[in-house]
């Protein structure tokens, strides 16, 4: 049978998302999306020796927008920034046991938000 709706894993991250919130004085901040389009994500990171020691998010959007945000924080936490930068949208979707096809583009922005946050950190560092 074709996959209908969201996977159990998506629903788990939607109902009980990890790392929700903001970090005061973050080392990096990334924001992607637009409320006009229905999705907006903000990611805050704390970094020590180029390792992501803490990460938080806030998201306005649909179920997959929230689940992908939660998932990226789990994937990135504890990783070296070079490794974290390699996490793709597809990686996030795969870790969630897939997303409905129409959600792959519009609501799968979490990887982009993380990259923005790391870019922000690098910019501040230099």
């Amino acid at each position: 049978m074709a996959n209908v709706g969201y996977s159990k894993k998506v629903m788990k991250h939607f109902t009980d998302p990890k790392n929700v919130g903001v970090i005061e004085n973050p080392d990096g901040y990334g924001k992607v999306g637009n409320p006009v389009c229905g999705d907006l994500m903000e990611i805050y990171i704390k970094i020590k020796d180029d390792i992501i020691t803490d990460i938080k998010f806030k998201t306005f959007g649909c179920g997959s927008a929230i689940a992908t945000s939660s998932m990226i924080t789990e994937l990135a936490k504890g990783k070296h920034i070079d490794e974290a930068l390699k996490i793709t949208r597809n990686d996030v979707a795969n870790e969630l046991d897939g997303l409905p096809p129409q959600k792959m583009h519009c609501s799968n922005l979490a990887a982009d938000a993380l990259q923005e946050a790391i870019k922000d950190y690098k910019k501040k560092k230099n």
């Binding site: 109902t15 006009v36 229905g38 306005f60 179920g63």
Partner: protein, 397 residues
Amino acid sequence: MQGRQCGFDMKYKQIYLDHASSKPIHEEVLKFAKPYLNNKFGNPSSLYNLGLESKSALENARDKISDFINAENSKNIIFTDSATESNNIAIRGTAMRNINDGKEIISSSIEHMSVINPMKDLQKNGWAYNQAPVDKYGFVDLDKLNKIISNKTVVTSIMYANNEIGTIQPIKEIGEIVHNKGKYFHVDASAAIGYMPIDVQKNNIDLLSFSSNDIYGPRGAGLLYVKPGLKLQSIMPGGGQERGIKSGTENIFSIAGMGEAAKIMKNEIKNESDRLIKIRDKLIKEISKIDRTYLTGHPKKRLSGHASFIFNNIEGESILLNMDMYNIQIATGSACSHKTLEPSHVLLEIGLKHEEAHGSMVMTLGKLNNIDQVPLIVKAVNETVERLRKLSPLSNN
């Protein structure tokens, strides 16, 4: 489905608030129509007794539905497969048959896609398609409508009430405007039927559509009322069933069920509508108390079973999924829940911004609801909005 996956249905009893999207078939209707699925399976065009039995069921359903909407004669009822098909036949059939009168068609800007898309299709084939705008409540601008109906207009289609915001149009008055110009008036009553009595003669209606399921009948049957004297071109030529307008062997089970559903509905509509208004108004009162929350549609001139809202700073699909965790089923006009990924055109046409339209929630009440459910619904909505706002970067909560 998602709620069940997470095991929430163990905790919460189902509260179904999406009657506009689907209704359960009435028990009495099922009992009445069931024999036409197996024992009484004859083709109504066959002349032996088995066929005549089906023919008689078909005509009996036509009589009941004719009575339900006060048609001049049961001959004016055409059975189709769905409200979408009825809308298509009404618009294309009238337009093509009367093409010599002109090549212009009109609808409101908040019609269902089964009206807008056939009209857009005609537009691609050289017809002029104009839309009458609506105000912030969703009422059609009657002056504008009057202006855009020209001597070349063939058919004007305005819905009785809107499925997303519940607003009821002044149909009789609109009918007068259309008739004063000597034109045909089609009304999609899918959202309104079953929530208020509908009389085609009193309300100046030339063509009326709705489906069997809209009145707790089985899926697979629709109705098209065609005023005496109005000629339609068939868009489904074949064996000549349904006056040649809609060929194809009739779905007697669904049609017989629809007839019985209309008979039952006729008797209970007044009481049921009064009952639903009480639930509706209590829901509106309580949910409107939530911060940054707005009712969509008109507060009073709305369907008896319709309550619809906008919550700022949160998104509709998330609201839907979160409410499902409480085993409460609602609908939304948010882009994320639509195949097109566009927010509801209805919400944009009443003047909402895209970011506002994303936060919509629609509750449509019916037989599965009672006043005791209200506190549970209100609690779930409050908790849902609070949780999603905590997640939202647009909100300070």
